[in-house]
Symmetry: C2
Subunit: 376 residues, 2 copies
Amino acid sequence: MVTNIHPARMNFLAPHHQQAISIRPSFSLWDFMTSTPVSDIVVGAPSLAPLLGLVEKDMERVNATIIERMQSDVPLIPKLAGHLVAAGGKRMRPMMSIAGAMMATATPDERGPAILLATAVEFIHSATLLHDDVIDESNLRRGRDTANALWGNDAAVLVGDFLFARAFELMVEADNISVLGRLAAASAKITEGEVRQMTITGNPDTPVDDYLDVIAGKTAVLFAAAAGAGAEVSGGSPDKVAAMYDYGLQLGMAFQIMDDALDYSADAATMGKNAGDDFADQKITLPTIIAWQDGDDDERAFWQRTLGEARFAKDDLATAQAMLAKHDAIDRSILRASGFAEAACVAVAPFADDPATADLAAALCDAARFAAMRTS
Amino acid sequence: MVTNIHPARMNFLAPHHQQAISIRPSFSLWDFMTSTPVSDIVVGAPSLAPLLGLVEKDMERVNATIIERMQSDVPLIPKLAGHLVAAGGKRMRPMMSIAGAMMATATPDERGPAILLATAVEFIHSATLLHDDVIDESNLRRGRDTANALWGNDAAVLVGDFLFARAFELMVEADNISVLGRLAAASAKITEGEVRQMTITGNPDTPVDDYLDVIAGKTAVLFAAAAGAGAEVSGGSPDKVAAMYDYGLQLGMAFQIMDDALDYSADAATMGKNAGDDFADQKITLPTIIAWQDGDDDERAFWQRTLGEARFAKDDLATAQAMLAKHDAIDRSILRASGFAEAACVAVAPFADDPATADLAAALCDAARFAAMRTS
């Protein structure tokens, strides 16, 4: 039964949307589409619930470890870190590490190292958020005042550094030098992605591939490393480690594209941040690249004045949203995210036949499709 | 022969200056003083030259590795990092790792892992400098424009993050999980020290012990971890690892106290930064703590208005310097640094009798005394 299909996905087989995916050049969405019955692809409404159900108990252990390990003799550190952590968030990244451990069929007792890594991954992510908010001069995150707004840039930078260092302490405790190497390399790639993003900021004519490089670095690589490391530290076979890494990478791409698309369509209450933040920050994202590419001279002049030169006027956000709508840029972005979500499903498909991993593989695929379906 | 003794050290045996050293409670300067002839303590003019001579060849390898490993596909990263690295600096921290390897009597061929660690340590230090300059809004470091002044706070924060992540990659390559753990813990302690410093900023009545905690964290722990890790990764015996860790800790304390003392006495040309920076930044350092403790009500009101409330008037720096001179605060600070330098000598003294390490032990002691003798 096919129900609740996101409108943008109704025609996601249309070949003219299948641009090359620089992140994973060997993947052909077309091959997958033509060899897989549509009824197998979209069954019921995608949901995060099955995955949440599987990882729930482990995530409680992760949350406890997060609280325990953000402590310090210096009171400001847990206070500031706790403000961010208490605000919640989806904890998607640590969930990747737990899913990796489950894919490796580690028993709950054997998942201790993966729980340490999951905590480390959340700390790396939190450190990045703290530094991002300083860089963007943001004052609202997840519906609350940002740490830099409350305690100043200096404290936010330093506590970010602390969480990053603490993350490495946790990884060392997981006691697997190969995994450590992967996570250290991922951390370097994240910062490269962030610097890359900085260098494309204000350039509305950025090519799509450059954007994909940016989000691969700043977002997808951490999802990938988290999932792969969870599998590897739990004794997963090389094919499972590679599959989970790939799954995380594709999911991360979908996740970030959706985040960027929703920035022009969601309201602050739903997102926990201000809609149009990316616009005000001159960030170049997939919707604006599509609108630039398909825009006429007047439209390009608009993007150049706003995103390019930060000369904003009242109603510019509404004008931007109207231009995005004219070119169907949000739905076309979501379509692109759907492609990555399907690639994530392909990555874990080989493990759908094994009774030990069938439920997990299905839940992971469901979660990926859900990530590309957020409609708010 | 006793020559070239720094004036401040002429009376450094005076017991009333021997406050408890919270960093190393088991160390008794008095025990050392009373059991060691003065002629053994100060022989000739302390100099960095013997240590520089011993480590010279390895430091060339470290410098080459620094250049090689700060590369990235993202051009802004090596450009910004190179600006800081090219400005030089004393490279004291990587030198600690090399000295550790030599203390472990590793041959030049066996020093590869220590060279990786030395590079990592310099990267951690560089990352800290980049973030510090953002936090302090500094525009001059080592006599050149700061990275944040040239490329903006965002780039400086992110490239700092990159260097930190790259440092962990290098440590992983050194392939010793115990050493990795120590360096990760040291990194967390550095950031704790920096946050602690932030929390005492603007409080002129900070106790000396709180100040010592701050500089132990923000400076001495990295010297210590660098020296200890260099010895451990090179197969040094536990006593040598512990001795090098201790040496680094004591030297780091001396080094930072001198840095803080010179901030009120040196000129920009010598220091490569603006004299009085700490004063303007409301940083609480040993000279100001001494002046506060021994100051009368009028003096305390001055420190409260300036360091406490940042209400600065013209000539305040000159007034501060005069008050410090009145209480001999600079020389008394240098005296304190000398005490730590002597403790560093004590740490390596056990290896002065072994022909394989005698020259190194002597050179290390000389370097520590030199660090506490900078008169500019």
